[in-house]
Amino acid sequence: MRKRIAVLLAGVMVCSMLTACGSTEEPKEEPEAKQEETKEEKPESKEEKEPEAETDAKSDGDFTEEVTLDVAMMWPLDSTTDAKSYALNHAIERLEKDYPNIKINYDGSVHDDYQTIMMTYAAADTLPDVFNVKGAWIPNLVENEQIGTVDEFFENDKDWSGKFDDEVLFDMEYDGHYYGAPFQNLCCSLVVYNKEIYKSVGYEKFPETWEDMMDCFAKLKDAGYVPLGVGNSGQWVANSCIFGAMGDRGAGTKWYDDIMEGTGDGFLDKDMLKGVEKMAELADKEYLNTNLNSIDQFEVMPPYLNEEYASYVDGSWTFATLIATAGDDQSVIEKSGVAVLPAIDGGKGDYPATPGGSAWGQAYNAKLTGAKKQAAELFIKYTTDEEWCKDLAEKGDFGGMNIDYDYSAISPLVQEYAQLKSSVKKTPQYDCHFDTSVIDAMNTNFQELLIGEITPEEWGGRVQEEYELTLD
């Protein structure tokens, strides 16, 4: 009897739980579903039935219906150190003020996690309306019809699009079309160095030849400094910020062209491997920090600011964070300089040069139509235009357009970088164009190369294996 009662009671409990779940979900689901329908269908029906009203809405600077844009980007809105977060907050404010009916549903992340999030969305074919796209992702997204071309946006507003240089548009081009609007102009391989420390070992400025740099690093090491800090736990810094320059110093731009076309010796190319050998030399002579694979690009900044590292390698995105990390004590920043990695003997590449361009751009989902697509166009403009670039400049960062700005007011270091940027040649950023599996093979094996676990030839052999799989 007791068991019967227990079974009965258990049954009642299960039923009540199911009923409870059902009763709370049902009313919720209906309006949500209706909302979705409203979001998706209204713009379409508007486009089909009322094209004139839509044009009016646009010319009036207003949308007659509320449009919600789902936006996912690699900057959190509440960051106090990220220049992009600052500019993005302003851009959203401006957009929502000018177009009150556009609502932004923002999902912020950080650079190293963003790729995973976006790849998950892409695999499930549920990309947000507007997102940051990396150059290397574009071919795959285009093949799967997941990304729309921005050609028509560029055509619609030539005053805006005409301000982008070819060097920043290069990373966003695929098959004769542009798929992203550049929101930044990067130099991916830079050395930030402490001029006073370098001066103390007899170097007034950063060495311009590899031999001089080795001599300088030997003296710095003897003086108790880590000559060159690297934060490679994210695995991409060694590739983007060191190999991007050293590969080109060794092989020149033709090697990049060969890889893209599937010709040449690939990753067994002897000239390119000269650059890798130089990287291995840095590891062999212990000129790099020993914990380079367990700290990231931000974690190299405190030891640099504490003058334990004489210099560190990173890209132009470093300045805003470095200045913010230094806080009130800007003394180390004031005695810092910026340079590119030196030339190597017998190399085919140019000097001074650095891999650079936009690397990333603002893109939109190919499924967008009607008012939502117009809203996406506006969002993309607001997050790439001159105002955006000025906001970035205020924090020591550089947008996709060249603007007149007095960077010396921010820091002499940023001013020095602005001058360097205009004087160096830009070379292709390998990790924005090569196949993602090849990039991963490069990154993974650089970790081992830079702690002396594998030789440059082994590095080349392993990456070549992955590269050949992509050619198949």
């Binding site: 094996n445 970790q447 676990e453």
Partner: protein, 298 residues
């Protein structure tokens, strides 16, 4: 017998009770496995476009040295977890069940506490402990004058897997302690008393009474430890992401990197199916080994 039949619920009732669990199992376990097997037959980079490869991905998997290395790391981890997690947990549980130990509740709480922490939190915690410049481990070594031992622990390919094993073992010992304590409390006290009368000490009691009488629990614990280690991901993702290079790569991490970093979702699914097959084989082996052991003691 007749009573049992009366108390047995009707088939319809049984079906109704089982229905929610079966649906959950189908949605969250069976269907994803079937989908993974399906995707493993394609060259698929996400999105709509898929190229059918048949068993092409599986033949590639058989020759994949990184997959082999990742599995080896999983095996090493599983062996360490069986020996240290289950072994240490058995000893601690024996101590907790003995009469000599004071402050039993405190010990149980302290040992169980890491179990309730999220693996991501444990990963971050130990990443900080291992940090070369401000980590607790190097600080302690410095404090006791062992400067020569100071090193970048998780940057050294020779010791990185050992470093990762420590937090994993540390976190889950408490779980096995709880399992063993509950099993040991079920052993009738009279057996220990008569053994004591025959002159058996604590170690003899543990070996000849506690161990054989908790063999079923040991079996479950070993299977849990092995299967847990085969799917380990969070700790490694946070601490090293499988690096330096592939030194601390494990199967789940390799599947993740292949799918989400390399954008090879088809091959990533193949790796997942491969891990599943190996894990099931290991669990089967455990069953066979412990099945024999059980007969011996029965």
């Amino acid at each position: 017998m007749a009573n049992n039949k009366v108390l047995q619920p009707k088939k319809r009732t049984l079906f109704l009770y089982m229905f929610p669990s079966v649906v959950l199992f189908l949605v969250f376990t069976a269907i994803p496995i079937i989908m993974a097997i399906y995707y493993s037959l394609f060259n698929w980079s996400g999105g709509k476009k898929k190229i059918f490869l048949g068993l092409g991905n599986y033949s590639r998997l058989l020759g994949d040295s990184i997959f082999g290395k990742a599995l080896l790391n999983n095996f090493i981890l599983a062996a360490c977890c069986v020996v240290f997690q289950v072994g240490i947990a058995f000893i601690i549980a024996s101590l907790i069940c003995s009469k000599g130990l004071k402050l039993k509740s405190f010990h149980q709480f302290a040992i169980f506490m890491p179990v309730v922490l999220a693996p991501v939190v444990v990963g971050f915690l130990w990443k900080i402990i291992y940090n070369q410049d401000y980590g607790l481990l190097n600080f302690l070594l410095h404090s006791v004058g062992l400067e020569s031992w100071i090193r970048p622990w998780i940057d050294d390919v020779d010791i990185v897997m050992k470093c990762i094993t420590v937090p994993i073992v540390w976190q889950w010992i408490g779980l096995y302690v709880v399992i063993f304590v509950s099993a040991m409390k079920n052993i009738p006290e009279e057996i220990f008393e008569s053994a004591a009368l025959d002159g058996a000490g604590g170690i003899k009691k543990a070996f000849f009474i506690t161990w054989p009488m908790t063999m079923d629990t040991v079996k479950i614990s070993v299977i849990l430890a092995v299967s847990g280690c085969m799917k380990i991901f969070e700790h490694i993702y946070i601490i090293t992401s499988g690096g330096p290079g592939t030194a601390s790569m494990v199967g789940a991490m390799y599947a993740y990197k292949t799918s989400f970093i390399k954008q090879r979702f088809g091959y990533g699914s193949t790796i997942s199916v491969g891990i599943m097959a190996v894990s099931l084989t290991l669990v089967l082996i455990c069953n066979v080994i412990f099945g024999k052991g059980k007969k011996k003691y029965e």
